[in-house]
Amino acid sequence: MNQRVRITSPQTRLALRRKTDAMRRVNHKAGRPPIASTAIDMAGAERALRRQRRLALRTALLLGAVLGALLLASALVSGLLGWAVLFFAPYPLLLALAAGHVRRAEQIEADS
């Protein structure tokens, strides 16, 4: 907690990165991955990736379905009700979708 941390602005950081870039390019030439390898639990990561990917696809498809349904509703309904739906309905739906996704994604992380 009491460790001292160097603080730089994003601009300085960008400029400083130039040096590390050069070092990483040398690593490229040596046929090594640009980032230092530390052993990772490949099998566990594999399982996490598969589960997270399934969840991400599900959320993306649900988002498509929600927006599609809204579009259909807008095409069918006109007048006061039409814009009222578009004014009030989307945001709670989008929020519920995203919150549900995050809850499940965190569950997967806790499991693995």
Partner: protein, 502 residues
């Protein structure tokens, strides 16, 4: 005059908070440690503060007056994009430790060529996004103080580029967060006043427009009455939703968040903040349709409504407030965009240093100002829509496939980026220079996302030959999804000094 004074005050307070914010950050050793425990709400406000641009404050209401209530779809798409950011990008992107999209491309694909290409795409998207911001600034200044449009645009360019150099505007999270609150206050409070002052008759006419063109009240977008509203709406929705996921300056902001977990949570909070904000430009649009329905002035309708509803002192004060809010939107978005653009120019393309970064800001401002001068008559939201369409056709597939699919190779990404960027910018340019008859073809050219996004995805997937997947592709993708407690989830400490993987 009051409007100009309010705008001046906004500029001044932004610079002061920026300078003070930088000092406070530097003199407090615990700042970064503390920032890991910062409530996600502050980070979310900073993201929303940068994202809610002049296009949202002015353009949305303007398009609503001009094209009808279907313009609300823009707000829906702008917000829906964050569902995808939360689900697909925020967590893994934070784990990669990459600061920008080109950084990420280099991490994942291990190729400098792809980094340069991404740098170029960043330039295109940022310029398309910047031009309407300067247009909005020019229009606000012209309307509130009678300054000629070109003087306003050039002056705004000077103000922004010097504000970045002096204040380092995006250096502190709370400068951006301050801008979100400022925008919300200066747009929302006058809106509530105006709804009250409008009286029952005009309120009724705004809520239930009678005697207006039925195309206007239909909640679908139909630009230039092309007769294909569903197709137009769908294409705009694809561009805005998927484009938000690929916007370089949005992706960039997640790097200040403590870790993958809070990155996702921040994206969810952004949805709340955007959903709240976007209600108000629509209120201005609906009132504007009643009191200032002139389509030629639609892009400044937000500023006209207060004066029409409450002539006299109250109207003048409210107009000044809204003008200040709009200028705050311009200031925060354009400085974020300019830094992303300058970073792209100096770092990704030419191997940068601090002086080159400053030069990049000046160059970028100059370009955007030069392009904004002839754009006085182009709708703000049309230009912003193109920025989103290009982002959706380039960085959206790059990030989605790069994060979730090991099979993506540098060749695949290169081909996909070339085709996506070429098709989207090409058709947008064609729609400007060819005066096509309004119809399916003109929609597919002016709102190209509906076909360029699938095309870019397909190109990236097909050009990534199976069998050429390297060991590094395997490892780099797995690292993006490692649960936090498994140790070094930030693969490269040099990417940022914040760290924060605990």
């Amino acid at each position: 005059m009051l409007g100009l004074a309010a705008i001046g005050l906004v500029v001044l307070s932004s610079v002061v908070i920026g300078v003070w914010g930088v000092r406070a950050a530097r003199s407090t050793p615990d700042f970064l440690v503390a920032s890991r425990r910062i409530v996600p709400g502050w980070n979310a406000m900073a993201i929303a503060g940068e994202y809610v641009s002049a296009a949202s404050v002015l353009g949305l209401a303007g398009l609503l007056v001009k094209n009808g209530v279907g313009a609300m779809w823009y707000a829906v798409g702008f917000t829906a994009g964050y569902v995808l950011v939360a689900a697909l990008v925020a967590g893994p992107m934070r784990r990669s430790g990459a600061y920008t999209v080109p950084d990420f491309a280099e991490y994942r694909l291990g190729s400098l060529r792809i980094r340069r290409m991404c740098g170029l795409v960043v330039l295109v998207i940022m310029l398309l996004y910047l031009v309407p911001q300067f247009k909005a600034a020019g229009a606000v200044l012209e309307l509130t103080s009678g300054i000629p449009y070109w003087v306003g645009v050039v002056g705004s360019g000077l103000v922004v580029s010097s504000a970045i150099t002096v204040g380092g505007m995006r250096s502190a999270t709370y400068v951006q967060a301050f801008h979100y609150l400022l925008k919300l206050a200066f747009v929302a409070v006058p809106a509530l006043f105006l709804v009250f002052l409008a009286g029952p008759e005009r309120r009724g006419a705004a809520v239930d427009p009678i005697g207006v063109d039925p195309n206007w009240t239909r909640p679908l977008l139909d630009i230039d009455n092309s007769g294909h509203p569903v197709l137009t709406t769908l294409s705009v929705l694809v561009a805005t939703t998927l484009g938000a996921m690929g916007l370089p300056h949005v992706v960039m902001r997640f790097h200040t968040v403590a870790g993958a977990r809070s990155a996702r949570r921040v994206a969810v909070s952004v949805i709340v903040l955007l959903g709240l904000f976007y209600l108000f430009p629509i209120v201005y649009g609906l009132l504007g349709q009643v009191v200032a329905p002139n389509p030629d002035e639609s892009d400044v309708v937000t500023l006209l409504v207060p004066g029409k509803i409450a002539p006299g002192t109250i109207g003048t004060v409210l107009t000044a407030l809204v003008a200040a809010g709009a200028f705050a939107a311009f200031l925060s978005t354009s400085s974020g965009l300019l830094l992303a653009l300058a970073g792209g120019l100096s770092h990704d393309l030419f191997g940068g240093s601090l002086s080159r970064l400053r030069l990049g800001v000046v160059l970028g401002t100059g370009l955007a100002v030069a392009l904004a001068l002839p754009a006085a008559d182009v709708d703000i939201n049309v230009l912003v829509g193109w920025a989103f369409a290009v982002a959706a056709s380039t960085f959206c597939p790059l990030l989605a496939l790069g994060i979730w699919w090991r099979g993506l190779t540098a060749t695949g990404a290169t081909v996909g980026l070339l085709i996506g960027a070429g098709a989207s910018t090409g058709s947008a340019l064609t729609s400007v220079f060819l005066d096509l008859e309004s119809g399916v073809v003109s929609i597919l050219l002016s709102q190209p996302a509906i076909w360029t996004v699938p095309l870019a995805f397909a190109a990236m997937a097909l050009a990534s030959r199976p069998g050429s997947v390297s060991e590094w592709a395997d490892e780099s993708v797995l690292r993006l999804h490692l649960p936090v407690r498994s140790g070094s989830a930030t693969p490269d400490k040099s990417f940022d000094s914040v760290g924060g993987t605990g």
